[in-house]
């Protein structure tokens, strides 16, 4: 019975991080690939289909996925593990981002900032978001289910209004402010000791700037994955799961509901705050309106597409949802190329793409403004809304559920019954 999932012969194996041999190895391969991703490796680049990213546009997208994964893990604690549906995740990300800007940003004419080093502003962002989460939580604990989802919608709108109230922190509306840079220094010295965003040498490696940012975010993500995974295995995690499954029953069994909901809110906000700060510094300048409802919905979509309640599912979902628009863009570009070309399939692709004015076709790569034919950016939104619908209709457990199905199929192969 070696390598069978869900067959545990000891408590130790049941509580281990990787309960099966397959998961352990897949995780190992995943980590190796993720670490090697930003490098140009001569041997690997020879292989067909396998191209590591190097210093390209894709690496920025992957870095964004890593950053979003941290926030998604946070929402997973609140929504996936504790069962409290929150649409206010963007608000907490924004809170973290502006805490980092206040602590670590450069003081300007119109903006506040203290220029503190990263080891202060990054945890500071998380702690500020967590504290705000603790302030909000008592109100949120009173309500449950859809009422909670709606109350957190209000939070997002209030957050955007607060950013208008304090342009010294958030910068002017629709413009935003500069965020601190990713570099390590002990205190406010002029020269940074280690920079995570400029190209240069690390030990004996010559690494590009985006690769450094990538590796830094990867390391942070690793840390947060460990925290989130271990949370599942502790008393707190079990209490949260009990509250998710039936809060009244949990309370009767002696799980203090309010206390653990507060913990879930604070933890989830901490993750969101750190992720928001990272994302803001990664983009460099963000209008306060970026922290809006659509961002929150994106995280709900990540959880659902990946599979709520599981770490692996959350990570898969993040990569899927964040990189999907870029794939869609490339695909639309490729379709336009095909339609304009002389291949046998040109006519087929022309059905989907509008190449000239008055052409029948649904998608247009040349267009940016809303209108028909639909620009690619709008197509992304449609696609991701459709994905949420399709996954909920046909695969409620998400990508993780697909994995379980595949696993269960091979478990008995070739004897399916």
């Amino acid at each position: 019975m070696w390598g069978r999932p869900n067959l545990h012969t000891s408590y130790r194996s049941e509580a281990s991080i990787f309960p099966t041999w397959t998961q352990k190895n897949l995780a190992f391969i995943g980590i190796v690939i993720l670490v090697l991703l930003p490098f140009h490796l001569p041997i690997i680049d020879q292989l067909p289909f396998v191209r590591f990213l190097g210093d390209s546009d894709w690496i920025r997208l992957t870095t964004q996925a890593l950053i979003f994964a941290i926030a998604a893990l946070g929402l997973n604690i609140l929504t996936g593990v504790a069962g409290q549906v929150s649409l206010g995740h963007a608000f907490f990300m924004g809170a973290g981002a502006y805490a980092s800007a206040y602590l670590g940003g450069d003081p300007g004419n119109q903006t506040w900032g203290h220029g503190l080093p990263i080891w202060l502003w990054l945890p500071g962002a998380g702690v500020t978001a967590a504290l705000i989460g603790l302030i909000v939580a008592p109100a949120a604990v009173r309500v449950r289910g859809l009422y909670l989802a709606i109350i957190t919608v209000g939070l997002v709108f209030i957050g955007i209004h607060l950013s208008r109230l304090f342009p010294e922190i958030a910068g002017p509306a629709e413009v935003g402010r500069d965020f601190p840079e990713l570099e390590f220094r002990f205190w406010k010295e002029d020269a940074a000791l280690v920079s995570f965003s400029d190209a240069g040498n690390w030990l004996w490696f010559d690494i590009g700037g985006s690769a450094k940012t990538y590796l830094f975010c990867l390391a942070l993500l690793g840390l947060f994955v460990l925290v989130a995974k271990n949370l599942h295995r502790t008393r707190t995690g079990r209490a949260l799961q009990a509250i998710r499954d039936r809060d009244v029953a949990a309370e009767i069994m002696g799980v203090p509901e309010v206390k653990y909901k507060l913990i879930a809110f604070a933890l989830s906000s901490f993750f969101a705050g750190v992720s928001g700060a990272l994302f803001a510094t990664f983009v460099g300048r963000l209008p306060p309106e970026s922290w809006d409802l659509i961002l929150s919905v994106e995280f709900i979509a990540i959880l659902l597409v990946g599979g709520a309640g599981t770490i692996a599912g959350t990570l898969l979902g993040t990569f899927f949802v964040v990189t999907l628009p870029r794939f869609m863009e490339s695909f639309a570009g490729w379709m336009t190329e095909q339609a304009n070309g002389n291949g046998i399939w040109a006519g087929f692709w022309d059905i989907f793409v509008a190449t000239g004015s008055g052409d029948f076709g649904f998608i247009s790569t040349g267009q940016v403004a809303p209108g028909f034919p639909v620009p690619v950016a709008a197509l992304d939104t449609i696609l991701y809304g459709a994905l949420v619908i399709i996954f909920l209709l046909f695969e409620p457990l998400g990508l993780y559920g697909i994995w379980i199905k595949i696993r269960n199929y091979w478990k008995g192969w070739p004897f399916t019954y």
């Binding site: 964004q64 549906v85 008592p138 109100a139 009173r142 309500v143 449950r144 289910g145 859809l146 009422y147 989802a149 709606i150 109350i151 919608v153 209000g154 939070l155 709108f157 209030i158 955007i160 209004h161 208008r164 109230l165 039936r246 009244v248 029953a249 009767i252 983009v283 209008p287 309106e289 970026s290 809006d292 409802l293 659509i294 961002l295 919905v297 709900i300 979509a301 659902l304 964040v322 628009p325 870029r326 809303p370 209108g371 028909f372 639909v374 620009p375 690619v376 950016a377 709008a378 992304d380 939104t381 449609i382 991701y384 809304g385 994905l387 949420v388 619908i389 909920l392 209709l393 409620p396």
Partner: protein, 337 residues
Amino acid sequence: MNALFVHAGQLIATVPPPPTTEGGAGLERFIAVMFRGLSQGSIYALIALGFVLVFKATQTVNFAQGAIALVGTYFLSVVLINWEIPGKWLGGNQYVVWFSGLAVALALSVLLGLIIERLIIRPMIGEPLFSIAVITLGLEAVLRTLGTDAIGVNNRSLAIPWGRDGFRLGGAVIYWSWIFTILATVVAFVAIYLFFRTRTGIAMRAVALDQEASLAQGISVGRVFALAWGAGAALAVLGAVAASMSPIGPGTATAATAALAFRALPAVILGGLDSVVGALVGGVVIGMSEVAAGAYLAEHTNTLGVGYQLIVPYLIMIIVLVVRPYGLFGTPEVRRV
């Protein structure tokens, strides 16, 4: 930047600018604020009623209400301007033409609601309520984008016959659009009140009470679902049409409509998710307080921030929810282990 973030900006860019504040002083301002608040509240009440109907039948919140309203206003614009159905057979009276066009557009919206219900909501019966709520969020993204792209860059006219005309009452200008909005709301609520006394309406109330028991009594639960979604879509579109002309709006179909439902959420919550009376009271209270805050706190705009009146509903909502977790008129859920 990522394409998703271009879109993240889009919703906010489409939130309507804060309404202009009422001028004048004393009684004149008070009358204007009252009427305008009532009409704003009526808009919220209409949309809230749509939410409540869907919630009563399916026990879930339809977050796509605003997007359906957006598509519906596009329908109205197409019916009135492009197709001129049934206007071209009805002769010259612009009021007859407009109201018949509205009826056609509402019928199309009902059809849209029915299709959505059949394709997406019906297969989800028995799934967790959270999943159904999130599926409507996905639907919202799809419909909002499609609607925005259908309307295009330039807003489409809704050819409102009374435009920006109004009359004077005690010195204050009262616009016909406000009167239309208030009347439409009264008609809608009376219709729903009467409907709940018909055979089908009683069936709907039974389904709201207990799905399995009503199924055992021979009520077609699926048909009740479809009815609720159709009515919800029509109410959302009616609310959006009223909003497009209120207070003295341009009367166009804009992408901003999609955000309307999120602004009406406080009204729904204040009244309670499952109470028709609550939708009316919540809508009027929220609309009144929004407009009153906009008019009477205008001199403090510098301290409160531009557009502060749009936040007032959310603050009221959160305070009410903390005191009464199921709204003013909502039924508390009895939870068993």
